[in-house]
Each structure stands twice: as structure tokens, then as C-alpha cells.
């Protein structure tokens, strides 16, 4: 019996190569290509009056300089609005090179091509651009005030506006025994993969075709976009994602200006051209996310059950809105988490600012939504003097209520219906793991030692694996080697491993024989891409279905050859055999030979399939049976009814230094439910990596723009990404409630780790300090200032109180039950 690979913590197929320097990332290709560099706007908002290249022209090694005027039709048109949506009221996208106006620092204005990057940057430095500076709109609050406009045609800086809900939330809140209002604030952060973006293009003058490599999360998308922009037949463009050094969302956005310009220049110059983004470019020209202002109004009963919830979100989407409203839709729908408010209304405004565009970053709007909901749960608990876990439990959707239909529309345009999950069971596990019920003793002990500790938990539900589809192709060679391909890409998630595990089991072949290719349009041309925790759900299911087809075909062919009913056959370790009669068998490689009748014998195996070989089909039958195709291969697609919903709950224990306000994470516990797990080691890796980004996002990382729209911390020296010393050890436990929406029962796991972190730390720090936290991330100096403001009576205290000696100078119990504080 072959060992079952599905569910085993198999070591990764990718690793030996990546560990020995054998990875091939974008900048490892095309050493002799010309290099591109860009002159980028130093202003957040300005008119471009003049571009003077005179000084640059005599730099040795210069090949070409391009401005918007040099671009041909289509390349010069606005970049596409990728995801249209009815809520978009004034959709604006940028140009590949600025057309007379720039709307954020870092926007490309001039493209330089030279013999190498050093020279290209010399040239860029000598190009003089004259600007007329316009008043910038920086930050979501300024965008909402709309004293200045980013785009004249977007009144109030509003790019999109949407209202969703069910029931009459306003009436339910008004009728509720208790009402609270909260103002909340989440700052900007970004994916920041360790490898930036990059594009390498080779134009084949003989074949009039384009080979394109991009550090992207979607090669089919880039291919189609570039073909459209360059006016090339799709058949003349192929795109490959080489090894990609992390994505986390920023590389699903496409086509980036450089993805259009580099292939365009390569074709025009008939020379290979490459652009590798440097770190500063990544900060100022790739996408950010997260910033929102939020207002919550909630009505609830004595048990803390939410009767009505009204949420307003002001979402900062930056200078343009090419990726549509996926992020605020996620915030506004996934805000609901595991809970079922009696009535719900959410309204969002997606606003233009003169800052870098906003597209999904791991979690894609969910961290903000969870922040709003979990802060609300904590506020309710504090208001009623109830345990925070109990209030959550009182609001849970129960397992027997699954599937649970909210009557809302999710970001994939499908109904928001939870397919699975057991929230009470998850909560029990989490409370046990972190020792929730025994914490008060721990707090008392710490207090006696003069230490401040706090505990918190936060819950999320995550729609994963959205459609419309992914496909898989499985091909068995005559040697028995199995080639698997799928269109979606990899950025380190281990797809080559998990897809091989799935196919090995489905087909009955050794894991070592299965070879997986992802993200190469030459191998698989239909795909959407890697985002929204959909790799395993979508491509995993697709390759499983494709492998089932291949298996069925193998059994038909082998059944003929072995004169057995296919139903009596099995495939074990790559050999088809009659059940209970291992003597009657043939390797899958031989079945592959039989599947493909040949005229020419290239080698011994091929000879067995030629027309004069014994054992062919009878003289009255065509060599390839009707309805069959030559070759032992199969292709299939997985197109789910709708997204599947994973969920999880995190808990943390923090300690805050009474003097310095330093924040230390003492414990971090995760319980997650991503359905059946293909490879628990890889799932755990995804969770841990996500938690690290969550910790970074809650305690360290922010995009620090000044009022003129300069990003002040656009380097690793100033943007504080956590090192090993900042990330706490993470304790995990899991629950497996399989999804009914795909053949393997999988739910996505890629983003889970990051989603509840900001909400969690806000609650834990609040618990340690005894006053409200409504803005994240939080640094020690901000906490220090909050303490001062709390002492001055400017920040409301928690009703349950805080550490001894931390009470405000004047008791700050609010006269109205409205713990809103320093937000908008």
C-alpha cells in the first residue's frame, strides 16, 4: 500500500534547489539584457511642465529615453480598471508614464533604457523635470474633508461608495437596551516582500513573439494585459513567473506600468530589457494597504448580544483605483466574523489620496473589518462588565446553523454564505490553550511584582478560495514520470509540494515521480492567480480532478490490455494491477505507451506502441478509440459555487513596561480551522508567517507620510519590519471542519495568521493599561503619550479598571455610554 501523502508533513520539493542557490528569481535571469530605470515624481501632486533630457544624452551606454508623448496608442492609454464594480462612482487609473500630472511620490514619469542599471540611473539623474506643485491630499481624514481634490472629476475625493446590509439596523439599535459608539483608526502598511517586483522581456524578431518573465502572482493576467496593450495576438505572448521572493498581494495587481513598458521597449529596440525594482522604488511605487477610519454604532442586550450594528468605513485607496473595491468590500463583509448581529448596515466610501495606490495586502481588508468588530465586542463586554470571551460566544453562529446565509454579497460577487465551522469548539480550544480562565491569578501575581500584563482574544472568518476557476493538467510520460501543471503562481507557499502530494494520492504514484509547474502560460493558459488564500483550494482541487481523469483513462486502457474490468483494477506505486491478483499488472508508463499509438520508434518503450507491435487494437477499430485522445493525460477545472470560509481565533498575553511603555508579547496562541490540511507543516508555516506580519502590522510597521505626501520611512532602516527578536513563539492548535464546496474539503490558510492581530493587540494592551485603544498600530512612544492623555482625563478608562496606580487624575467614566475617543 502506498503511504498516503495527503495530510502528511512532507518536506518540500522546492527546498533543495532554493537552499543551494539554485533558485531563479527575476533578477537572476537575463544578465545581458538592457536595464530600465525610471525617473519618478518627487511630488505628491503636481503638473509636469517640462522634461529636459539634454544633459543626459551624452552618457555612455544610454540606449533610449521615453516619456508619455513617445508611447504609441494603447500603451499611452490609461492602465486598465481591473475589477469593475457598480459601486465605483469615479474610477481613475494611472498611465504607464505620467501624462501631464502626477498623483503620488514615486509615480513614473520618464523611462530610461541603458546598457546596465548603473548607467540607467546615471541617465535618470540627469533628466530635469519641471513641475508645478499642486496641493496634495494626504491621509484619509484629509480626503474625507475634501478641502482639496486629487482628481477634479472625483467630487469629495470619493472613488466608490457602497451600502449593504440586512434588517433595519438603525431601528434595532434605537430599540436596544444599550448603545455604544466607537471611532477607530487603522494606519497604512504594506506587503513588503523581500524580493521587489521585476520584469524581463525578450522579443523574438524571427517569430515576432514575446517572452516575458514577471515577478507576479498572475502570469495569465499579465500575459493578457500585455498582449492587449501591445496589440499582439495572445498566441504570440508567453509569460512565466520564475521563483518569486514573496508576494503577499502586491504582485497580484497588474499590469504595473513596468509590466507594459519593459516588453514594449524590448520589442521596439529588438533587445532583451529588464527592470528590477529596488527597495526604495518598492516603497514609493508598489501598493500599500490597511488605512481606514471607522465609525461603529451598536445596540445590544444585557447578555451582549448584538441586536443592531451600523458601521461606516472611510477607506484610503491612494492615487488611483485600478484594483477596484475588493479591499473595502472584504472589510465590510468579513467584519461580521463568526457573529450574527440581528441587523446590519455597512456603508463605505473609498477615497482618493495623493499617496501610493492601495491593493490587497495579505488579509485584504479583513484585518480592518475584524478590528472594527472585535473592538466592538470588547467595548460591549467592558460596558456590561462581562467576560470578553462570553460576549463573543453569545454572538456566535452555531455549527447547526451552517450553511449560514447573511443575505449579503461577497467580494467574488457571490452570496456571503458560510459553508462550515464550529466556533464554540474553536473558542473552547483557544481558551484552554492560552489559559483564559486562570489569567486573573496571573495578573494578580504580576501586579504584585509591579508588572502590567493583559490578555485578549480575537476571532475572524475568512472567505478563501474564490472562483471563478482554476485548472490542472496531469500527464504521465512513458517513463512513468508525472507532469502536473496549473496556471496559478507560487511565491513560496510550497505549491510544488502540496500539488504533488495530491496527485500522488489520486493517481497512485510515488510522490518523487510527480513534477509540478506553476505560473507558466506555456504550460497552462487558463488561470486567475494566487491571492485570497486560493492556491490549495482551487488548484489543489483542479489537479485532483485532472488526476482522477487520468486515472480513469489509465484503468480503461489497462483494462483492455489486461482483459479485466476497470472496476477491478487499482493503481499502487505507479503500477496498475488487478485487485487481489498482483501478477496481472503493468506500470503506468506502459499504459502511457499504449495510450499513444505510434508510427516511429524512438526508443524501446516507443517500439512497443508502433503499428506492427503486438497487442494493438483490432483491425476493425481505429488506433485511437472514439472519444479518446492520444496520450495518458487529462485536464480538468475546479469552479466552486462560491468561496469557502476558513476561520480562527487568536489569543495573546502582553506585558507593558510601566516606565518605558515598551510592549512585550509573552504568549501568542492560534486556533485555526482551514478544513482538511494537505500538508500540516506547510499550513503551520503559513500561519506563523502571517502572525509575524500581524505582529509587525500591530506594533511596528506603518507608512509614515508627511503632510506634503513624502513617505518618510521608505527604507528598511526606517520601516520597522520585525526581526527574529520581535516575533514571539506561536502556539497553535487546530480544528478541521471540511468544506463541502470542493472535492478535498480544503479551506484556504494563506492569510489567516495576519487577520486578527491588530484587534488582538489593541485589546491586550487595553487590558494591561485600563484605557481605550482605538488606533493601530501602536508604538511604545504612542502608548506613553496615551498614558499621559489618560492621566489628564482625555482618554476614557475601561469600566473594569486597570493596573493599580494607572487611574486617571480625574475619573473619566463617560456620562453617555460612548467610549469613543481620539479618533475622527
Amino acid at each position: 500500500m502506498t503511504t498516503r501523502m495527503f495530510g502528511a508533513p512532507v518536506q518540500r520539493r522546492e527546498d533543495a534547489r532554493l537552499l543551494t542557490g539554485g533558485g531563479r528569481y527575476l533578477d537572476d535571469l537575463g544578465h545581458d539584457a538592457l536595464a530600465a530605470a525610471f525617473v519618478r515624481s518627487p511630488h505628491a501632486h503636481a503638473r509636469v511642465l517640462d522634461v529636459d533630457v539634454t544633459d543626459a544624452l551624452d552618457v555612455e551606454g544610454l540606449v533610449a529615453v521615453y516619456t508619455w508623448e513617445d508611447l504609441p496608442e494603447r500603451v499611452r492609454d490609461p492602465l486598465p480598471l481591473l475589477i469593475p464594480h457598480p459601486s465605483l462612482v469615479a474610477p481613475r487609473t494611472g498611465y504607464a508614464l505620467a501624462r501631464g500630472e502626477v498623483n503620488h511620490v514615486g509615480e513614473p514619469v520618464v523611462m530610461v533604457v541603458a546598457t546596465d542599471r548603473y548607467v540607467a540611473e546615471d541617465v535618470a539623474e540627469r533628466i530635469a523635470v519641471t513641475y508645478e506643485v499642486l496641493p496634495p491630499v494626504v491621509g484619509v481624514a484629509a480626503a474625507r474633508e475634501a478641502v482639496h481634490l486629487v482628481h477634479e472629476e472625483a467630487a469629495g475625493n470619493v472613488g466608490a461608495h457602497l451600502v449593504q446590509g440586512y434588517g433595519d439596523a438603525g431601528a434595532a439599535i434605537d430599540a436596544a437596551p444599550h448603545v455604544l459608539e466607537l471611532d477607530l483608526d487603522v494606519e497604512r502598511s504594506a506587503c513588503v516582500p523581500l524580493e521587489g517586483k521585476g520584469v524581463y522581456a525578450v522579443w523574438d524578431t524571427d517569430e515576432q513573439s514575446l517572452r516575458l518573465w514577471s515577478s507576479t502572482q498572475t502570469t495569465t493576467g499579465v500575459r493578457a494585459a500585455v498582449a492587449a496593450k501591445l496589440g499582439l495576438p495572445l498566441a504570440k505572448v508567453e509569460c512565466t513567473a520564475p521563483d518569486v521572493g514573496g508576494g503577499f498581494g502586491v504582485k497580484i495587481m497588474h499590469p504595473w506600468p513596468e509590466e507594459v513598458l519593459v516588453p514594449w521597449a524590448a520589442r521596439l529596440l529588438e533587445r532583451p530589457v529588464k527592470w528590477t525594482e529596488d527597495r526604495r522604488e518598492h516603497f514609493v511605487s508598489s501598493a500599500h494597504e490597511r488605512q481606514q477610519l471607522q465609525h461603529v454604532r451598536v445596540g445590544f442586550d444585557d447578555e451582549g448580544r448584538v441586536l443592531g450594528l451600523d458601521v461606516r468605513l472611510w477607506h484610503d485607496h491612494g492615487a488611483y483605483i485600478p484594483y477596484g473595491v475588493i479591499v473595502p468590500i472584504n472589510s465590510s463583509t468579513q467584519l461580521l466574523g463568526p457573529y450574527k448581529p440581528g441587523a446590519y448596515r455597512v456603508e463605505f466610501w473609498s477615497l482618493y489620496t495623493n499617496t501610493v495606490i492601495v491593493t490587497p495586502y495579505r488579509g485584504a481588508g479583513r484585518p480592518q473589518g475584524v478590528f472594527a468588530m472585535e473592538r466592538t465586542m470588547d467595548a460591549i463586554a467592558d460596558h456590561l462588565g462581562l467576560d470578553r470571551a462570553d460576549v463573543r460566544a453569545a454572538n456566535f453562529i452555531q455549527p447547526e446553523e451552517m450553511p449560514y446565509d447573511f443575505g449579503l454579497t461577497f467580494q467574488d460577487g457571490r452570496p456571503l454564505v458560510y459553508d462550515s465551522g464550529d466556533f464554540p469548539a474553536s473558542l473552547r480550544k483557544l481558551k484552554d490553550l492560552v489559559g483564559w480562565d486562570g489569567f486573573e491569578e496571573q495578573r494578580a501575581r504580576a501586579r504584585a511584582e509591579g508588572r502590567r500584563v493583559g490578555i485578549a482574544l480575537a476571532c475572524y472568518v475568512e472567505g478563501t478560495g474564490p472562483g471563478p476557476y482554476e485548472g490542472g493538467h496531469v500527464h504521465v510520460e512513458t517513463s512513468g514520470r508525472v507532469n502536473v501543471s496549473t496556471g496559478l503562481t507560487s511565491q513560496g507557499q510550497g505549491h510544488q509540494t502540496i500539488l504533488a502530494q495530491i496527485v500522488a494520492d489520486e493517481l497512485g504514484v510515488p510522490f518523487e515521480d510527480v513534477h509540478v509547474t506553476t505560473g507558466d502560460t506555456r504550460r497552462f493558459g487558463y488561470s486567475v492567480g494566487t491571492f485570497a488564500s486560493r492556491g490549495a483550494v482551487m488548484s489543489g482541487s483542479a489537479v485532483a480532478l485532472a488526476a482522477r481523469r487520468v486515472r480513469a483513462k489509465a484503468l480503461r486502457i489497462a483494462g483492455d490490455a489486461l482483459e479485466a474490468d476497470p472496476g477491478d483494477l487499482e493503481v499502487v506505486d505507479g503500477v496498475v494491477r488487478v485487485k487481489g491478483n498482483p501478477g496481472a499488472s503493468m506500470p503506468l508508463g506502459t499504459v502511457a505507451v499504449l495510450s499513444n499509438p505510434l508510427r516511429y520508434a524512438f526508443d524501446d518503450t516507443a517500439r512497443a506502441a508502433t503499428q506492427f507491435a503486438a497487442g494493438g487494437r483490432g483491425p476493425d477499430e481505429p488506433p485511437v478509440a472514439p472519444g479518446e485522445e492520444p496520450g495518458l493525460e487529462g485536464r480538468d477545472y475546479h469552479s466552486p459555487l462560491r468561496s469557502t470560509f476558513a476561520n480562527g481565533m487568536h489569543a495573546a498575553v502582553v506585558e507593558t513596561d510601566p516606565e518605558t511603555a515598551e510592549i512585550r508579547v509573552l504568549r501568542y496562541c492560534v486556533v485555526h480551522d482551514c478544513g482538511t490540511m494537505v500538508n500540516p507543516m506547510i499550513v503551520e508555516g503559513q500561519i506563523l508567517g502571517g502572525v509575524a506580519q500581524g505582529v509587525g502590522g500591530a506594533l511596528y510597521e506603518r507608512m509614515h507620510y508627511d503632510e506634503s505626501g513624502q513617505l518618510l520611512n521608505a527604507s528598511f532602516m526606517d520601516f520597522l519590519m520585525p526581526y527574529a527578536t520581535e516575533v514571539p513563539p506561536v502556539e497553535t492548535d487546530h480544528l478541521e471542519t471540511p468544506s463541502p464546496l470542493n472535492p478535498l474539503g480544503i479551506k484556504g490558510a494563506g492569510e489567516a495568521g495576519v487577520i486578527p492581530a491588530a484587534a488582538l493587540f489593541a485589546s491586550a494592551i487595553e487590558d494591561a493599561e485600563g484605557f481605550r485603544i482605538s488606533r493601530m498600530p501602536i508604538s511604545p512612544s504612542e502608548l506613553f503619550h496615551l498614558r499621559e492623555r489618560f492621566a489628564a482625563g482625555e482618554v476614557p478608562a475601561l469600566r473594569r479598571g486597570g493596573p493599580a496606580g494607572a487611574a486617571p487624575a480625574t475619573p473619566a467614566t463617560p456620562a453617555t455610554p460612548a467610549p469613543s475617543d481620539e479618533g475622527a
Binding site: Q11, R12, E14, D15, A16, R17, L18, L19, T20, G21, G22, G23, R24, Y25, D27, D28, H31, E60, Y118, V192, P193, L194, E195, D243, V244, G245, G246, F248, D278, R279, Q491, G492, Q493, G494, M681, I682, E684, G685, L688, G689, G690, V691, A692, Q693, S715, F716, M717, M721, Y723, A724, T725, V727, P729, V730, G753
Partner: protein, 164 residues
């Protein structure tokens, strides 16, 4: 004005190389693009991420902060010099066993750092292991596997000493 070009002699992973490089060329670029040893990665080019770490005469340095010309005459060890797919070094094997990498972009810098660290500190505690890698950024793993891998690599080194 044409750039000044300098002859540079380097021994990289035991092999002698002579290259002509512009005086401003970074060691990271020289290794990657002149010698085509692309295992050394560049994540920031300002000395913070550690992805470009190589051993210069046995000492870990950020090759993005070293001019190729100033490495003239030096012995350089890159990730390619640690082990091969068929014969992984203790660090490489440990990283695989402990799932200490995802995208692999940061990995070469961690591996060279860990090699040099364990040469000097063959038996670290967990706290020391964490400190040892605390100068390198990884955006994928959350570091838990990496810290484990440092300890495991130390163990493998001892195992291999006993039974070579």
C-alpha cells in the same frame, strides 16, 4: 567620461576568478552578474535585510555594502559554496527539516550567517540562536523554523563529526 575599470581577483567557493569591474560595482552585483552566482540575493541594497550576506575571508559581510574592487584578493564563500543538492550542508539540511524557508529569497543570507555563527559557537542555546539570526529579515516564515534550524544545524554538525 568613461568609467574607471579595475582588475579584481577573487577566490569564490574555492575557484579563482579574474574580472574587470567598474570601480563602483558592488560585490553583490559582481557575484551575481559578472560571476553569475545568483544564489546571493539583494533585498534592500542598504545593508539592513542581510539577504546578500556572504563570507569574506570567513567573516559574514553584506555584499551590497562592499565594493567588488575592495574585495580584491579575498576568499568569498556564497551559498553555492556551502553544499549541493545531493550533499546539503548541515545548515541547509536543518533549514529543510525545520521548514525554515518559504520563498527562499532571504535564505542564502541566513545560511551563510548561520555557517559563520556555528563555526564560532557550536552549541548555542535557543536564545543565542535567535540572536544569531536577528540581523536578517525574513518576510515569510515568522522565524520560528529558522531559530529551530540553527539549533538543528548545530546538532547535525555534531552528528556528522561523530559519524563522518
Amino acid at each position: 567620461m568613461p568609467e574607471q575599470v579595475l582588475p579584481v581577483a577573487l577566490t569564490v567557493n574555492g575557484a579563482a576568478h579574474r574580472v574587470q569591474v567598474p570601480s563602483r560595482r558592488l560585490l553583490s552585483d559582481c557575484l551575481r552578474h559578472d560571476l553569475r552566482l545568483t544564489g546571493t540575493h539583494v533585498g534592500c541594497e542598504h545593508g539592513v535585510c542581510g539577504a546578500c550576506t556572504v563570507l569574506l575571508d570567513g567573516v559574514p559581510v553584506r555584499s551590497c555594502l562592499v565594493l567588488a574592487a575592495s574585495a580584491d584578493g579575498a576568499e568569498v564563500t556564497t551559498v553555492e559554496g556551502l553544499g549541493t543538492e545531493e550533499a546539503l550542508s548541515p545548515e541547509q539540511q536543518a533549514f529543510r527539516e525545520c521548514h525554515a524557508l518559504q520563498c527562499g529569497f532571504c535564505t542564502p543570507g541566513f545560511l551563510t550567517t548561520v555557517r559563520a555563527y556555528l563555526d564560532d559557537h557550536p552549541d548555542p542555546t535557543e536564545e543565542e540562536a535567535r540572536e544569531a539570526v536577528a540581523g536578517n529579515l525574513c518576510r515569510c516564515t515568522g522565524y520560528q523554523g529558522i531559530v529551530r534550524a540553527v539549533l538543528r544545524a548545530a546538532e547535525i554538525r555534531r552528528e556528522r563529526e561523530v559519524a563522518p
